[in-house]
Amino acid sequence: MTIAKIWVVAEASETGLTTTTLELLTAAREFATTVEAVAWGADTATHAATLGEYGVSTVHDVGDIGDALPGAPVAGAIAAAIAAGQGPDAILIPTSYDGRDIAGRLSVKADLPVLTNITGLVGGDSLTTQHPVFGGTQIVSAHFTGQGPGIYVIRAKSFAPEPSGGAAAAVSPLSVPDLGNTNAAVIGSRHVEERTGPKLDEAAVVVSGGRGLGEAANYALVEELAKLLNGAPGASRAIVDAGWVPYSNQVGQTGKTVKPDVYLACGISGATQHMVGMKGSKNIIAINKDQDAPIFTVADLGIVGDVHKVVPALIEALKSR
């Protein structure tokens, strides 16, 4: 038995549909007979071909939302469809800044529960969800018990994206009901921050720094090493909380999930909070002065030593090649 119809909330950036969206579409195909997408923006039709390639038959187009944040209008449109009896059996939403807004508002509008931080799904008559706990050492399985479509918020990199080669998706408008005051927040201007290397969650190499760096200025070593390896710099929660680096650099439970070919942890002890975001990396290298640091339990190569010595030496060695 499979599920009849799944909707995937499809997010796009300047460069097209996000990778997480493609991952969710791939997963949805495995569990449901019909996969449809919900998208918004002035140019949804331009995504119809890619959506079709990933198995989407119809994309429900919320349309141009102008300078509004997506949370209220997209959730409003989906909730209206559910109320009219035209909703799906399950709704998959990417764990992202806007995805969580949509999930939260939709949950209230449709009075439906939401399961978040999902990293695995098991199909059948209904979906069983998997959630990592305690730094990913254990997996909790759960499912919805009530009526109505479940709302599933799924973390990036939980599935490998794979096109299925379908025809372009049909575009069908999905109207937004009156949202009243809930839609009153307005985007005045958008700022793109310059980035020299690859994106943190797409980089083949990630070099992360933690409290062991000692002070904020030493994060420059992490950035330099990342640059030398064509990688992206990441951070533990401790140094984000301390204000050394912005939240967008954070790897972990409350930050990004990364699965690079090489993850190099500099002065990170390996709190459960951090481990859950990086233990899926193909190869893990850790430098830490405490040989009992939990990070060494997941490291393929662990150097028990002083980051202030090992990292500069590593930078020199790479530069002189």
Binding site: V108, T128, I139, H143, A184, G302, K309
Partner: protein, 254 residues
């Protein structure tokens, strides 16, 4: 300007954690502390109230066992009072039920602004603040990396994948702040003493007219994740950097 800050008291993340037998929910029966993530929201609220020339910062929280020690920490920082919803029927409550309870508690004080962390450090569901906004019929701006009040408008720099957006909203509104946005103050001795006599109102879900019902999701199993194979751990004898280079060469990264 009156600000409500949603705070959560959680098991100390530094202590060993476990799941409760039977329900498989996080064991929260021990001592609870103020979630570190919430200290940023409390600090932000105190600063905004001060900048607005006055007004009170009220804490709203839900805890299963009448715990108040985490609330006292936030009161010691300078919040004026707290509302704690504590009720056996709320044990294991999901995010939506939690949001209904908190929204009902918040609506009693009609604040100009509601502040929360982007997510808690124990459950990290990350939807409750937006659910509260929707229940209260308010706009929301999540993932704030800076916040300012200008008259009847809140101006937020909101984190995005590629940078940030400048977003404005009329008050009242709900905002969530990321860690590191402000530096939380340490409670002073005077603050700690004053916190002991600050009002903490304790309510039940029934007092707020919220029906808790039965949970509409359940945990079916808990299994060990696949463990990574043990690696090579070596003490740096001056050759640590070279060992890393050799490993990177094997992986053809360099």
């Amino acid at each position: 300007m009156n600000v409500v800050v949603c705070v959560k008291q959680i098991p100390d993340p530094a202590a060993p954690q476990s799941l409760e037998a039977g329900t498989n929910t996080l064991d929260r029966s021990g001592k609870l502390i103020l979630d570190d993530s919430d200290a940023y929201g409390v600090e932000m609220a105190l600063q905004l109230a001060e900048q607005a020339g006055g007004g009170e910062v009220t804490l709203v929280s839900m805890a299963p066992n009448g715990e108040t020690s985490g609330l006292r920490t936030a009161l010691a920082m300078g919040a004026a009072s707290a509302v704690l919803v504590s009720d056996d029927s709320l044990k294991g409550a999901d995010a939506l039920t939690t949001a209904k309870v908190l929204a009902a508690a918040i609506s009693k004080s009609q604040p100009d602004l509601v502040v929360a962390a982007t997510e808690s450090s124990d459950g990290y569901t990350g939807t409750t603040p937006v659910q509260i906004a929707e229940l209260l019929g308010l706009p929301s701006i999540t993932f704030a990396k800076s916040v300012a009040i200008d008259g009847n408008t809140v101006k937020v720099d909101r984190q995005t994948e590629s940078g940030y957006d400048e977003v404005t909203s009329p008050l009242p509104a709900v905002i969530t702040v990321t860690a590191g946005v402000v530096e939380p103050r340490y409670p002073s001795f005077k603050g700690i003493m004053a916190a002991k006599s600050k009002p903490v109102e304790t309510l039940t879900a029934a007092d707020l007219g919220v029906s808790t019902g039965s949970p509409n999701q359940e945990i079916t199993s808990v299994d060990d994740a696949e463990a990574r194979a043990a690696g090579e751990i070596v003490v740096d004898e001056g050759d640590g950097a070279q060992r890393i280079v050799t490993f990177l060469e094997q992986l053809k990264v360099v």
